[in-house]
């Protein structure tokens, strides 16, 4: 077959393809670029939202752990008297998953409704609590309480000595 014959045969291309080619409108580059840019921005926004959500969720979990899952509870005004020192619920990393190896049994908590504890092992709090006191003789800055409340079941909480 001669190339001229093939060229002539193209004349018989169906009308529908000719009209289709006639009406063909490519996606403008700027719009295509814009769509691509919007997709990338959308993707970034999604990632940011997911990260923010996860971070918030993690913070909430940490706060929940630190507060035993109860919000609006005045845990930081919880005070206990041990060996003539006042200890308060530590404000960071208070909740421990287990007692430290160095921790030694000291005694049982005696809950009081007074404003401040006045006797050894006495503990004041805005919630009912019972539990056991552990001390670390090498590190008197902290004591460890295994607490049971309405919202905590034998959770190990680190208490920090009161600043003078």
């Amino acid at each position: 077959m001669k190339k001229e014959d093939l060229a002539k045969a193209f004349s018989e291309i169906d009308d529908k393809y000719l009209m289709d080619a006639d009406q063909y409108k490519p996606t403008p580059k700027r719009i295509a670029g814009g769509i691509k840019m919007l997709s990338v921005l959308g993707f970034i926004v999604c990632i940011i939202l997911i990260c923010t959500f996860l971070n918030k969720h993690r913070e909430t979990n940490e706060n929940d752990i630190a507060s035993g899952g109860i919000k609006n509870l005045d845990i930081y005004n919880t005070t206990i008297l041990v060996e003539d020192k006042y200890y308060h619920w530590a404000k960071s990393e208070a909740y421990l998953f287990k007692l430290p190896k160095e921790a030694e049994f000291y005694g049982r908590i005696v809950h009081t409704n007074a404003n401040y504890p006045s006797k050894d092992c006495e503990m004041t709090s805005s919630f009912d609590v019972e539990g056991i006191i552990y001390v670390d003789k090498n590190n008197p800055q902290y004591i460890y309480l295994v607490l049971t409340t309405e919202w905590l079941n034998e959770g190990v909480i680190r208490f920090e000595v009161e600043d003078n």
Binding site: K3, A7, D15, L18, Y24
Partner: protein, 188 residues
């Protein structure tokens, strides 16, 4: 077909000479562009357009085209190819149609088969079937190059791609067409 084309066709059927004026007015530039892309000679292209519109005037009572624009374009294209064949061979190689024609060597062996008429009849069908297999963009590129004889640059501009993309696409399409014709039993 739009309402203008229906109206023009009605004028042809009524043998109203206003049909010719209306055709020039609406499709004069379109026809000239098809002819000039092939002939690369504005005088010859104008002559070709005049011939084509006269042929349209003669043919319409027998035929009622589905798409007037495509019908007219086809007549112009065939007239321009016939005129092209009569032109100087040296000049051919320098124009876009000549280059496009050379490209078609990728698809055929340039030898005449034993039954040319049958071969051409089958070829028309196969080309349409082949076009059906292409995406709209590739079909557009193919038709612009081998029907309208548009330059690579113009095609690239019209489809929002670069010239290299269009060249590579056309090269692949020619090879694909050759394979397709061979598979369908057309002697190329």
């Amino acid at each position: 077909m739009d309402s203008d084309d229906v109206r023009i066709l009605k004028l042809y059927l009524e043998r109203n000479e206003a049909a010719i004026e209306e055709t020039y007015s609406k499709y004069g530039k379109y026809c000239f562009s098809i002819a000039n892309n092939i002939l690369n000679d504005s005088e010859a292209a104008n002559e070709c357009v005049n011939d084509a519109i006269f042929k349209t005037w003669s043919s319409i009572p027998k035929n009622y085209p589905k798409e007037f624009k495509a019908y007219l374009g086809r007549i112009v294209r065939n007239a321009a190819i016939d005129m092209y064949k009569k032109q100087n061979a040296q000049k051919r190689k320098e124009d876009i149609f000549g280059i496009a024609l050379e490209e078609l060597k990728d698809c055929v062996t340039d030898e005449t088969g034993p039954d040319k008429e049958y071969e051409m009849h089958e070829l028309h069908k196969m080309i349409n079937n082949f076009l059906e297999t292409l995406s709209q963009e590739k079909r557009f590129i193919f038709i612009q190059r081998y029907w309208y004889s548009e330059s690579i640059k113009n095609i690239a501009d019209r489809c929002g791609k670069n010239e290299n993309y269009v060249s590579v696409t056309l090269n692949r399409l020619r090879k694909k067409l050759r394979r397709y014709l061979l598979e369908e039993g057309i002697e190329v």
